[in-house]
Amino acid sequence: METSTIQVEKPTKDLLNELKHTFGSKTYDEVIQTLVKRKTESGFGKFAKKKISVKEMMDGLRDKDDRN
């Protein structure tokens, strides 16, 4: 994989070092990838008031009156 150099400030580098240790990552690239892909606990279905169909969910979601 092609690589490139990026500049970060010293406190950021220190933080990346710390996370490298915490995550058990071999490289800074791995640390950044882990941070980007990190997920919270599941939120599946947690914002429903009641069970609704997909059709009901889609109705009025997006204004579609401007097709070319």
Binding site: L61, R62, R67
Partner: protein, 134 residues
């Protein structure tokens, strides 16, 4: 413009319909895509508007839902270049304005576009999720 050059199958751009299907729990297929630690997720800033508006009406805690989206994906803003490319895509793919702005953002991140909206059927790099009827 956001330029994600590393083309992988693990980059997914989640449309408003797919986020809502996940947050409301009526599209189980979204679970694997959204919760996998292998996947990098992208969301259009326009989805923040649509999801908030829709959840306020048919769901609950829209503000917390938006925080959830922000914590689990990278929010993509609309730039001038995206707006112009989206105008071209409206004509090319016969898309509505918002559809095109979101789809064009997905194209620019080189991610697979995940949606439950059939208007995106047959567009490149797009996966349409459908409700499983019992």
């Amino acid at each position: 413009m956001v330029c994600v050059t590393k083309m992988t199958e693990t980059n997914f751009f989640i449309d408003s319909s797919a986020w809502l299907g996940y947050l409301l729990g009526n599209l189980p297929e979204t679970k694997a895509v959204i919760e996998s630690h292998e996947n990098t997720l992208f969301t259009s800033i326009l989805t923040i508007h649509e999801a908030y508006k829709r959840l306020k009406k048919i769901g609950k805690e829209p503000s917390k839902a938006i925080i959830f989206i922000e914590e689990n994906s990278i929010i993509i803003n609309i730039t001038k270049a995206t707006a112009i490319r989206a105008a071209e895509n409206c004509e090319k793919h016969s898309l509505h304005t918002i559809d095109s702005l979101i789809y064009t953002s997905a194209e620019e991140t080189n991610a697979t576009f995940i949606t439950a909206d059939n208007d995106f059927d047959k567009l490149p790099n797009t996966k349409i999720l459908r409700e499983r009827l019992k």
